[in-house]
């Protein structure tokens, strides 16, 4: 049981301990013979923000499309909001909102009509007040009577988000919501995601912007070649796999690490001009003063020092490289 899941209450009607999303042993092979998903197992708790990371063609969109009903599932089982997405597709889909990766909108329909259409399609009675609220939240209210073809790409993406939200879903899938979106809209988008999470909506998103996942997500899943190689809380992932590094630029180059410093994981770089101290983020930082004291004792002087932490980006690249 992860923390995020227990903190947020499930929507009314959900059984205790139930998950927003449960995927069990899911496989998918396309007609072309391509194995797009291999034995995917995933649990997402209510109220979580879950980020799916992976290189192009990893299978992120395929996974989302199968859950939402756009692609026929292979063997395996999926429960959304506690409902089997195949056998109880009505209840399952009614609780899901989807913003697909590709922009796809009608041309000659107004913003208001297309958003109202979505609400009806998902089996909800008319509710102009709610449609208005969604449009206002997405800064689309002024554009409500505009035909979709007159909107910019970013506006169209907002419309697609409005369409996904207007039937009041419990789970929202955002497939690369910030692709092709300017900085301001991206910031607004993330503010919206946080706001939705605060309202209790579970959010599953894919992104290529790793800092985003790092900032936003409670948990991160990394998918590569159709395999979910890792699922971890963002913090734990950073701690576990993130490494810190202290780089000392020495006055005098060294030929070897002095014996007195052997208990520290040190390496020499730059022809002996740089002394590099690498340590896990889990390790106490207390060792650094000790290291500096020892250096002083040995008469090793340095003119500069530089510390850095590996980003999720590097972690991700390492993970993906390892598997390829």
């Amino acid at each position: 049981m992860n923390e995020a899941a227990s903190e947020n209450p499930a929507p009314q009607g959900a059984l205790p301990g139930e998950r927003a999303l449960v995927v069990r042993n899911l496989h998918k092979r396309f007609a072309s013979g391509l194995e797009a998903l291999r034995d995917i197992n995933l649990d997402v708790g209510y109220g979580e923000i879950f980020a799916l990371l992976g290189p192009n063609g990893a299978g992120k969109t395929t996974l989302i499309s199968i859950i939402c009903g756009l692609v026929n599932p292979g063997p395996g089982r999926i429960l959304a909001n506690g409902y089997d997405v195949v056998r109880q597709f009505r209840q399952a889909r009614a609780s899901i909102g989807l913003v697909p990766q590709e922009l796809a909108t009608d041309a000659f329909v107004s913003v208001w009509s297309t958003v109202s259409f979505s609400r009806g399609l998902f089996g909800k009675p008319k509710n102009p007040a709610y449609v208005e609220k969604v449009l206002r939240d997405l800064s689309l209210w002024d554009k409500r009577d505009n035909e979709l073809r007159t909107l910019s790409g970013g506006m169209k993406r907002r419309v697609m988000i409005a369409k996904a939200l207007v039937h009041e879903p419990d789970i929202l899938f955002l497939d690369e919501p910030t692709a092709g979106v300017d900085v301001e809209l991206r910031r607004e988008m993330w503010a919206l995601v946080r706001q939705l999470r605060d309202q209790g909506v579970t959010i599953i998103l894919t992104t290529h912007y790793i800092e985003e996942a790092e900032d936003m997500a409670d948990r991160i899943g990394v998918i590569n070649h159709g395999e979910l190689v890792l699922v971890e809380e963002t913090r734990t992932l950073m701690d576990k796999l993130g490494r810190r590094e202290l780089r000392l630029h020495l006055h005098q180059p060294l030929n070897a690490v002095p014996a007195a410093l052997e208990r520290f994981p040190l390496t020499l770089e730059g022809n002996g001009h740089e002394l590099v101290y690498t340590y896990d983020t889990q390790q106490a930082d207390g060792d650094i003063p000790e290291l500096l004291r020892r250096l002083d004792e040995q008469g090793i002087e340095f003119r500069d020092l530089h510390s850095s932490q590996s980003s999720l980006e590097e972690i991700f690249v390492n993970l993906v490289k390892k598997r390829t």
Partner: protein, 253 residues
């Protein structure tokens, strides 16, 4: 039943017609009216009457049927092809709707348009040619049945088509000729015996004959057979549509 969804699809489709009134209503009504003027009012006066019906009046049910067949096909085909083409179909596939509800929404709207178009064509014809309708109830019955059957057929074409040419292919290359040769302009009884037999393999003959019977109580084939053939075609289309949704053909990979 997700009635809100059926309503949403139906209204959206009807609104699409509303946006394209000129193309989807005015143009077929006008082009059919031209046939009435030329073949009915002008040439018709010099033609012998067929089975006791003035030639000008005789061709009205067949001509109307010809337009309705091609119009309901293209209408319904576009209705489902456009969302596939634009990618907006994703929303319908992800929605809590059954295939039956999707079909009722799309095909219902296309059939409604066809019925309205049919009535408009018949009203327009009245300005040029005198005709009567002996069995209005049956006339509506045939009209609705045909509209639904061919809208279903069009729906299938719209799912099968992989380009705009293919959308036009069947209406223009198959249905139009079949309608022309299916007794729109003549009674098949006027044909040599051999061709009469051949013509009976043309399904449109049964539609036109039945429809004409509801106007003038005269038919090329028994009206019961017409009804059975139309209903049979509708059932066949239903079976194909249900297979499409079960297999996800052209909709899901």
């Amino acid at each position: 039943m997700n009635f809100y969804a059926i309503g949403a699809i139906y209204r959206a489709e009807m609104a699409r017609t509303g946006r394209t009134l000129l193309q989807s209503v005015a143009s077929p009504v006008i082009s059919t009216a031209l046939y009435f003027v030329v073949f009915g009012a002008v040439i018709g006066q010099r033609m012998e009457s067929i089975a006791g019906v003035d030639y000008g009046a005789f061709i009205i049910p067949g001509l109307a049927m010809m337009t309705l067949l091609t119009q309901s096909l293209t209408n319904a085909a576009f209705g489902i092809y456009m969302p596939r083409f634009l990618g907006t179909i994703y929303e319908v596939l992800a929605a809590p709707v059954s295939s039956l509800e999707i079909v009722i929404g799309y095909v219902g709207a296309a059939a409604t348009k066809t019925v309205i178009l049919g009535l408009l064509i018949m009203i327009t014809a009245r300005f040029f040619v005198d005709y009567q309708i002996d069995h209005p109830f049956w006339m509506m019955g045939f009209l609705i049945l045909t509209a639904v059957a061919f809208s279903l057929f069009g729906f299938i074409i719209g799912i099968w088509a992989e380009g705009f040419e293919q959308l036009q292919l069947i209406p223009l290359l198959i249905v139009m000729p079949l309608a022309f040769l299916g007794g729109s302009f003549y009674s098949i009884k006027m044909l040599p015996e051999f061709w009469q037999t051949v013509t009976l393999f043309n399904p449109v003959v049964y539609l036109i004959s039945g429809f004409r019977w509801s106007f003038y109580s005269t038919a090329d084939v028994p009206v019961g057979l017409s009804l059975a053939m139309t209903a049979g075609f509708l059932v066949l289309c239903l079976l194909v549509v249900s297979w499409i949704f079960r297999s996800g053909y052209r909709l899901k990979s």
